[in-house]
Amino acid sequence: MDIQKINWKVFLEDPAPADPDIFFRVFNTWIPDSPEIFVDVADYRHVHDGPLTALIGHHTDYWLDETDGRRGLLYNRRTRTEGSNKSKLTKSLRDILSACRRLEADPAFGGKLRFSGKELLFLINDRAIAPNTPETYRAVKPDLEEILARAAGGAESALEHLADDRRRFSVKIKFERPQNLGEMISRLGG
């Protein structure tokens, strides 16, 4: 299958410093200062179980996200990407990890923002090409495992297919030992 509309979510070590208000201000600075095409920042602090602050991009969104009650940074690829599945997975994972590092380094968070290297969530945001079925999981798993092994420097990770047919195709990933985000980016060629 041709994987499109890749989503990754990196969770926070501690949700407390991830103040949506600060994210709102920081994301606004990304619009003029990034090579990517960002369009707007949407404020959804008033809702639950979804985005809190969304940086909307032409190709890719970054959200401070609290779906299922867990706060983290979500990468949402909107447009079609070319290349092999492995190259798309590599680039998208590298991009979200780099975004995490950029946020951690932003002075607005006072050095308190820390993303977790223990686990990830992977989604394909397209029910047409990737229904949330065991077949999709079988199709995606080999490439996903290979990229994760590369990112983790050979360390093992446990993959769990979240098989709820009303939800989008999702895989929960747990690393056997916590990973350093910077090292993961390097291993992915960043």
Partner: protein, 769 residues
Amino acid sequence: MTISEKETSGDTPAEIWKRRLAGRMPADWAEGIDHFETEILLKKQGKIEDKVFAETRLRRGAYGQRYDNGFRHDGASQRAISYPAAATKGPNTLWDAPGMQRIKIPFGGMTTEQMDVIADLSEEYADSICHVTTRQDFQLHYVSIDDTPSMFRRLAAVGITTLEACGNSVRNVTACPVAGVCRDESFDVTPYARAAFRYLLGHPDVQDFGRKFKIAFSGCRQHPCGLTSMHDLGFIAVKRTESGRERRGFEMVVGGGLGSDPYKAKVFAEFVPEEEFLALTQAVCRVYARLGEKKKRGRARIKFLVSDLGIEKFRELVVEERAKLPKDARWTDFLSQLSETDESPLRSPQERERTPGEGGNEYEYWLSTNVAPQRQPGYAVVSVTLPLGDITANQMRGLADIARKFVKNTVRTTVEQNIILRWVSQSDVPAVYAALKSIDLAEPGAGTIVDVTACPGTDTCKLGVSSSRGLAGVLRTRLAEKSMQLDEAIRGLRIKISGCFNSCGQHHIADIGFYGTSRNVRDFVVPHFQLVLGGKSKENAASYGLAMGNIPSKSVPATVDRLTDLYARGRQAGESFQAFIARLGKTEIKKALADLAEVPPREKDASYYTDWGDVREYSTKDKGMGECAGEVVSLTEFGLKAADREVFEAQVLLDQGEPQKAAETAYRAMMHAAQALIKKYNIDISEDPEAVVKEFRSRFYDTQIFHDPYAGPKFAAYYFRAHERRTGVFDAEKSHHLVEEAQLFIEAAYSCNIRMSMAQASSNAVLNA
């Protein structure tokens, strides 16, 4: 080659959905979506004109958003957004820009299956947020136009069309959300609303309107659920006994509307029998299509036609038209299917046994604001409060599950931007509360002052001037904190906010309404809101409020506090907010709020120069302006402020029952605003009205300098018309409209001044660089 031929061998998401959903939607809907998909392809190939495609996509509910022209102001300057494709999908709307998709929900009625699909679509094509509008629609934001055919197919497969969700057509047919379970209704209007929707969708007689056309149904006269008075065409359920037989019918009203120039609908007929209402609706549509304005958008709604002709003449024309119509079986066929929309309960009716202190204060408060007994004993209506009309995809699915468990698969959206569950067995109310709480949807305060209504405003709307959602969010938070302690009379007030004068937030019918404006203060543009008081949503939007003056955005929360405090302390026994405002008078209220209208210098408080829900400075400082120019601007500002004062005086005169004087004063205010602008070029402009209008026309109208970027010459036309009619006789209604138009003309003069100042600053900056 059509798209379908090209893609039959492929497996793009669009093709997969097309294959998967084939045969699961009405054939004409499927064909229409195929055509639209082809039109997208042709547009990409440059084979369809911009304007034509724009109307095509708008008729499918696909709108442009704020940044779709390829620019975004970042607080320092206007910056280009490098969308990959330079081609456009309509005037000023770039092809690649993410847009808004409106989804029509006739009478607000939805099934749980439809809820699941909308949740899925919001995840895959938007930002996981489903937004309920003030007309019972849903809107999804940041949608790529390439995704729209798949979206339309997925919606069509569950019985939803977006056709005519926008454009110059019949928009969503709305209806009272408690129709069928309301204790006060004459009868259930649901099947009639559905019949109107079905009959008019794509009907040839509604394809040639100059503007949109909105229809609403109400089951009673007294409640604010249907808001028929503010609709192009409204139907209020009425029963009549004739020859010992009870007949169903409607009081039919026509020519209402809010927008920048609000009109109350006029009674067309006190009783239109049920078998006649579709025929008469068709006749109204034909007269509107034939005689309604087509070129001047600002005068194209049916309210202007009805007003210009007078209701008697309009009625005569419609009756003539009706007589000519060939009989259509569909006018009455639906009468044999009235019971199809009946809902039945899932659970048996049981009165709830209450124990003291049950569920705690929070539950009790929710119970008092969000639960109401149905007409059917043992059942309740539960309102699910959606903050700012928003619900996330997961919450939507969760709510669908709750509906499946407790109420047999159906819910309704409301014009208050909430969702209601009907047929909840009273004994299940605590369990429903617990279930809603588990998905964070048990917020109390439905229908109270906390339940602030707002249009999208500057967040996503191209026309927004100030941040209506940002302000609504702040007000909600502040009011929710103290809602349980609020006086009962205060709690019952309604706040509605629009981002501009167009009134999508329905500010005219709120107890306390606001619409977005801006003001030039010490060389900065500062976000403001115009305060509108005296509106009434009850009795189907019984009266419209009038503007009271501009308040800086950041002072609006304090303004709400002060107004509610004044009411709590000063009201007489049983006195409504409208009566209190009328008794106090505009002059006293203005005096009480005078300090809040002031904007502190930026050095003292920079927050005033940034809007709610934003981090960018609202506008740039007019750097490089010469002293001479500055002086002339000061004269202009001075003149505009004088015009502001005069229009306020006109409002007071109107309140005092002096419509003629009010009209004269309003006209004078317009003339002085025009004069103020002319002073940019000619400080010696005379006081002669003819000379002012002539010079305004040549300097600002003919040059299009005064033209609003979106409304065009509309506001200048108000002035010209007022000038022509200045010696006429004005009754209360005509005077009311003139005062409204004067207010808008002055707002437009302020905006024109700001645009000119900014253009001057840019030009000076270039010269000084």
